[in-house]
Amino acid sequence: MPLSEKDVRAIADYARIGIADEDLPQMTEDLNNMISSLDAIKEFDLEGVEPTFHPIGDLSNVLREDVVAPSLPREVALSDAAETEDGQFRVPSILGGDQ
């Protein structure tokens, strides 16, 4: 069943991407076209086939020694942020209301 505009709005909310009302019909059509082109994936008999999540299948939990290593100094790590304050990233209010 194709996605409705309401579905697309919900998906976009979850993905934190605003969509203007006038862009919603085109985006809905594009997504439905893209998703219907994927239906070939349902045509294979996959009974008993194990999934491969990664080309190097036998990797798991690759850990390094738990020792302190150099990393970016704080002021460097902050240097690409839109807004900082007191050595921290600054964001608008999370819960709403005055900051």
């Binding site: 934190r16 082109s37 070939a40 942020a81």
Partner: protein, 495 residues
């Protein structure tokens, strides 16, 4: 008289510096001049870095003057795709989201090429976040194909391919998630190599599909690409998927293909929409390989048809996850004037990402949602198992597989606008990203109908990358073709 580097290979440049025919600074200046002459027409770069190139060149010249041994790539100009972090540059990914992002560290591949003495000339244009096959989705405008400026260079590493094809640099790096090195290499008539997943570190590359992405080189010859691989490959503690690799990729280049079994996949070559000139070029290449003593054998990849669908499920799902980091807090575009965090994020991501990026993020978000996961994502990962088995089975019978790289030659700017049609230009390249194998695109001259570059693709078993280069080198020797587009000579003539 300024040094003309537009036709020179990395090996020639290095040899000239080594024997004192010219200095690394003259080489850097030659690349800067070439970019100045050609870039206004091609637009291969998002940012050029002549001062970084000259600084690196002075270091190479100082090393030579001091009698220190030079690495085989010392003094060779290089360009990096703009999803690779390089200190002293912006890394934009072709996106408004990162238009002002200053790299805070070097990607491992950048670090390795700079340590080898390469001269960094700039950051190359790309489809936004590598989502595309034409470089038209870049926020900074499209790149033009040096062979025909009205046509696309392919993508997503279109700027990297075009910079080499135009003669601005002999080497560049790209990344390949579903064909993003090989397809633009084909459209631009240069060599492009995607190694086996795990051969080259991905640390410091802005991630698209983490189980699919691999970095690789572009060059105008197989030998130059092999030299670059020697510097690129190997374990990096900062990328846990990178593997030990002690191979000299140049060692087997002259071994030939006599006695080798080369596979062809009838289903690939008979696929709908493949241009006749592409098949004609493939058949000519197969004749050459026979002439060199290889045996051509038909092999089946029974699940190849599902590779495209598996890729367009796995890719967007991984992209959705990877691109969630662009939250407008730590870096990236922040839309001004929002009183609360969620409207700031919604607006920043709506404005910061272009249309194709938003489409793919939304598709990924949908495919991973509860209930839908079992319909697409899980089957796609099972199909990946079947495709991997197909290749393993095929490579138990043949040493390498040869196919077209792209079903067609370069299309015109604006010609393909429908996203699903655009995806079809990756028909032959996608399967090995899904399976993890390596593949190389080798130019085999101009198509008989379009007079545009045509290539064949050479695939190998996982970690059989040196064998791919060996086959490519043997086949390359059968062709006497221009590797630099005529544009460079025309620009020189017009001086």
């Amino acid at each position: 008289m300024a040094l003309d580097i537009t036709q020179m290979s990395a090996r020639q440049i290095h040899a000239g510096i080594q024997d004192g025919s010219f200095s690394a600074v003259e080489v850097a200046q030659g690349a800067i001049d070439a970019i100045e002459a050609l870039e206004p027409q091609v637009h291969a770069f998002i940012q050029t870095t002549p001062e970084l190139a000259l600084k690196a060149a002075r270091a190479v010249d100082a090393d030579r003057a001091a009698g220190r041994e030079l690495s085989p790539l010392a003094g060779v100009p290089i360009a990096f795709k703009d999803n690779m972090n390089e200190m002293g540059t912006r890394t934009t990914c072709g996106s408004k989201m990162l238009a002002n992002y200053e790299s805070l560290y070097d990607a491992t591949v950048v670090e390795r090429m700079l340590a080898a003495g390469c001269l960094p000339l700039g950051k190359t244009n790309m489809d936004e976040f590598a989502f595309g096959s034409s470089t038209e989705t870049s926020f900074f405008g499209p790149t033009c194909n040096p062979w025909d400026l009205d046509r696309v260079p392919g993508g997503s590493s279109g700027g990297s391919a075009a910079s080499v094809a135009a003669g601005m640099v002999p080497l560049s790096l790209g990344s390949d998630t579903g064909g993003s090195i090989r397809q633009p290499a084909s459209f631009c008539g240069v060599v492009g190599f995607k190694p086996t997943y795990g051969v080259v570190s991905r640390y410091g590359i802005v991630a698209f599909g983490s189980s699919l992405d691999q970095v690789g080189p572009f060059g105008r010859s197989v030998g130059d690409v092999a030299l670059a691989m020697n510097a690129l490959a190997g374990r990096d503690p900062r990328d846990c998927t990178s593997q030990e690799c002690a191979i000299d990729f140049t060692a087997n280049l002259d071994e030939g293909v006599e006695g080798m079994r080369i596979g062809v996949v009838p289903a690939m070559n008979e696929a709908e929409g493949v241009q006749p000139e592409v098949i004609a070029a493939l058949n000519e290449a197969l004749d050459h390989l026979r002439g060199l003593g290889a045996q051509i054998v038909e092999v089946e990849l029974p699940h190849i048809d599902a590779a495209m669908a598996a890729y367009y499920v796995i890719g967007p799902c991984e992209a959705f996850s990877n691109l969630s980091r662009f939250d407008a807090v730590r870096y990236g575009y922040r839309d001004p004037g929002h009183a609360d965090l969620s409207s700031m994020e919604d607006a920043s991501r709506a404005v910061g990402f272009g249309t194709e990026a938003r489409r793919r993020i939304l598709v990924g978000s949908y495919l991973l949602s509860s209930g839908v996961y079992d319909e697409y994502y899980l089957p796609a990962q099972k199909v990946r198992t079947l495709i991997t088995q197909d290749f393993r089975e095929a490579f138990s019978k043949v040493d390498a597989i040869v196919s077209p790289t792209s079903p067609r030659t370069a299309f015109k700017l604006g010609e393909v606008s429908d996203p699903v049609s655009m995806h079809l230009s990756d028909l032959f390249t996608i399967a090995i990203n899904v399976a993890g194998n390596g593949g190389l695109s080798l130019p085999v001259g101009l198509g008989r109908d379009t007079q545009l570059p045509v290539s064949v693709q050479i695939l190998g078993p996982q970690f059989g990358d040196d064998r791919i280069l060996r086959v490519a080198s043997a086949l390359e020797g059968c062709y006497d073709i221009a590797r630099t587009a005529p544009l460079a000579a025309a620009a020189k003539g017009g001086e």
